[in-house]
Amino acid sequence: MRNNPRIGWLLLSPTLLILLVFGFVPFLYVLFVGFNEWNIFAAEEGLRFSGLDNYRRLVFDEDFTTSVQLTLKFATFAILSELILGFLLAQMLTRKFPGKWFFRIIHTFPLMVAPIAVGAIWRLLVIPGFGPVPFFLDRWFDIKYQIGSYPDQALWTSVIMDVWHWTPFVTLTMLAGLSSIPREPVEQAKVDGANRLQVFWYVTLPFLRPVLLTTVFIRIMDAIRTVDEVWMLAGGGPGTRFTGIYIWRVVFPRTDYGYGSSISLITLYLTIVLCWLLFIAISGRRKGEVE
C-alpha cells in the first residue's frame, strides 16, 4: 500500500472528472426534476415544485408496478437460463476435442451483434407474414403465434432473445472462472470418494463464486435497463412493457419529465439495492476465504 495519496488522487482524477460531469451531474439534475411537475405540453410553462407527488403517484401507478413485475420476471428467467446454459457450455468447453476453437468462436457470435440489430433479427424471425417462426409453429404444432396479440408470447420471446444474445457472455466468464480453479482440490475430493455432484457443489461452486456473482451482477444491471432490443422486437407492445421502456414512453412521447425522472431514480435505487446485496455476498465470501 502506497502512502502518498496525492499521486493516487492524481491518477484517479481524470476518471472521476468524466464520471462526475457525465454521470453525477445528470444524476443530480434527474433528482431535482423528480421533485417537480414538468411537462412540455402542460398549460403552465416550466417546472413547478411538487414535493413527493411524483413518488406518491408511482406507488399507485399500475403501469409502473406491472412494468417492474415484468422486468423482474424477464430478468429472473433470462439470467437463470443464461447461468445454467452458460455453465453447461463452459463445462463442455473445458474438455479437449478437435475443432473446439471453431465451436467456441461460433458460440460467441451473438455477443457481437448490436442490441438494435438483435432486435431487428428477431423481429424478422417472428413477424407475421414472412417470419419463419409463426409459420412453422402453426404448420407443425398448430400453435397460433403472434407477439402483437399475446403478451405472454411476447415476454417469452424477449426472454429467449436475451438468452440467445447473452449466454455467450456467461459462457466466457464461466470458462475463465473454471479454468482458474486449481486442480488439487478437485483431485483430492475425488480421491476422498466424492461423486460428481458433490465435487461440483463443494469444490467447483465455492471457487466459482466470485466470478459467478460478478457475472450475475453485470447481467442484472444490463437486463434491468434493456431498452433497444426489446423495443426493436416488439415496439413496446403488451407483455414487453419493461421499466426501461416505460420510462422511455413517459419521457418521450408523453414528455412528462418530472414523473419520468422519479421513476428512473426509483429504478436506479432498486438496482443498486439488488446489486449491493450481491456485493455484500461477494465480499462476505472473500473474508470467509481469508480466515
Binding site: 454521470g23 475463465a176 421499466t243 419521457v251
Partner: protein, 284 residues
C-alpha cells in the same frame, strides 16, 4: 479395451452432437438475417423459405454506395476506437490508484464508480441533452452532434465495467513486484510500463475489446445526442424502420455489415477474452 474405446467414441459423438445443435441454434437467426438481406422486397412475402435461392446483392450495393452510410460507419469506427483507447488508459490509471494507494473512502468510490453503469438511460438523456447543447459551448461550437461528445459520454458506462474488470487483475499482481521495480530506480511510469502493463495485458486487452464492442453497439445516446455529423451506424439501422417504412432487405444487409467489424475483432482476440475475464479469480 473395447469398452473404453466404445465409451470414448460415444462420448465424442455426444459432444459433437451437442455442439452441432448449439451451433445451429446460434446461427439460425443470423442465417435468416443473411437470407433476408439477399432478397428483394417482393420475394420476402409469402411462404418463409430458409434456403438461399439467389444472390440479390442490390441491398448491399445500395447501402454501401450510400454516402450517409459511409459517414455513419466512419463515425462509428472513430468513436468506438477512441473511446476504447481512452477507457483503457483511464481505467488502468484509476484502477492502479484504487488498488495501490491508501485513499479515503476507497471502497465507496469503487462502488460509486460502478453504479454509473446502472442508471436507466432514458431519463438521463434530458440533462445530457441540455448539457450537450447549452452548457458546453464555445461560440457556435457545442458538444451536441460531435464525435468527441460521444467518446466522452460512452466512458460513463464503459469505465465502470473496465475498472471493475481490471481491479481483480491488478489486485492479483503482487505489490512486491512494484517494490522491486522501485528499488531498481523505476518511477511510477516505470512501474506501470515494466510491471503492471505486461502482467495485466490480457485483462487490458479484454477491457479494450469489450469497451469497443459496447461503444460500437450503443444506440440510445447516439440517436438522441447527434443529428447529422456524428451519427453512428446503429442509429442508421434504426432509421430504416422509422423513416423508410421498413425496408427489411436493406435493414438486414446493414445489420450484416455492422456485424463484420466486431466479428473480426472478437475472433482475433478470442484467446485474450477467456484469459482476461476472470475478474480476479485466484489463479494458481
Amino acid at each position: 479395451m473395447t469398452t473404453t474405446l466404445r465409451q470414448r467414441a460415444w462420448r465424442l459423438c455426444v459432444t459433437y452432437g451437442f455442439w452441432i445443435f448449439t451451433t445451429i441454434v446460434t446461427l439460425l437467426p443470423i442465417w435468416w438475417m443473411f437470407v433476408v438481406s439477399m432478397r428483394s422486397r417482393v420475394e420476402l412475402f409469402g411462404r418463409p423459405n430458409l434456403s438461399l435461392s439467389r444472390f440479390f446483392v442490390e441491398n448491399y450495393t445500395n447501402v454501401l454506395t450510400d454516402s450517409t452510410f459511409q459517414r455513419y460507419m466512419t463515425n462509428s469506427v472513430v468513436v468506438s476506437t477512441s473511446n476504447a483507447l481512452l477507457v483503457m488508459v483511464l481505467a488502468l490509471l484509476a484502477t492502479y490508484a484504487l488498488s495501490r494507494y491508501k485513499l479515503a473512502g476507497r471502497d465507496n468510490i469503487f462502488f460509486w464508480l460502478i453504479t454509473n453503469r446502472m442508471a436507466p438511460p432514458a431519463a438521463f438523456l434530458l440533462p445530457l441533452y441540455i448539457m450537450f447543447t447549452r452548457t458546453f459551448r464555445l461560440g457556435d461550437w457545442t458538444l451536441y452532434d460531435t464525435q468527441i461528445g460521444l467518446i466522452l459520454l460512452y466512458c460513463v458506462f464503459n469505465l465502470p465495467f473496465a475498472i471493475w474488470l481490471l481491479k481483480g487483475v491488478i489486485d492479483g499482481i503482487p505489490i512486491e513486484l512494484d517494490d522491486a521495480a522501485m528499488i531498481d530506480g523505476a518511477g511510477l511510469w516505470g512501474v506501470l510500463r515494466h510491471v503492471i502493463i505486461p502482467l495485466a495485458a490480457p485483462g487490458l486487452a479484454v477491457t479494450g475489446i469489450l469497451s469497443w464492442v459496447f461503444a460500437w453497439n450503443e444506440y440510445l445516446f447516439a440517436a438522441n445526442l447527434t443529428s447529422v455529423q456524428a451519427r453512428t451506424i446503429t442509429t442508421g439501422l434504426a432509421e430504416f424502420v422509422t423513416v423508410t417504412g421498413t425496408n427489411w432487405g436493406e435493414l438486414a444487409a446493414m445489420s450484416m455489415l455492422t456485424l463484420i467489424p466486431s466479428a473480426i475483432i472478437v475472433i482475433l482476440a478470442q484467446r485474450y477474452i477467456v484469459m482476461g475475464l476472470t475478474f480476479g479469480a485466484v489463479k494458481e
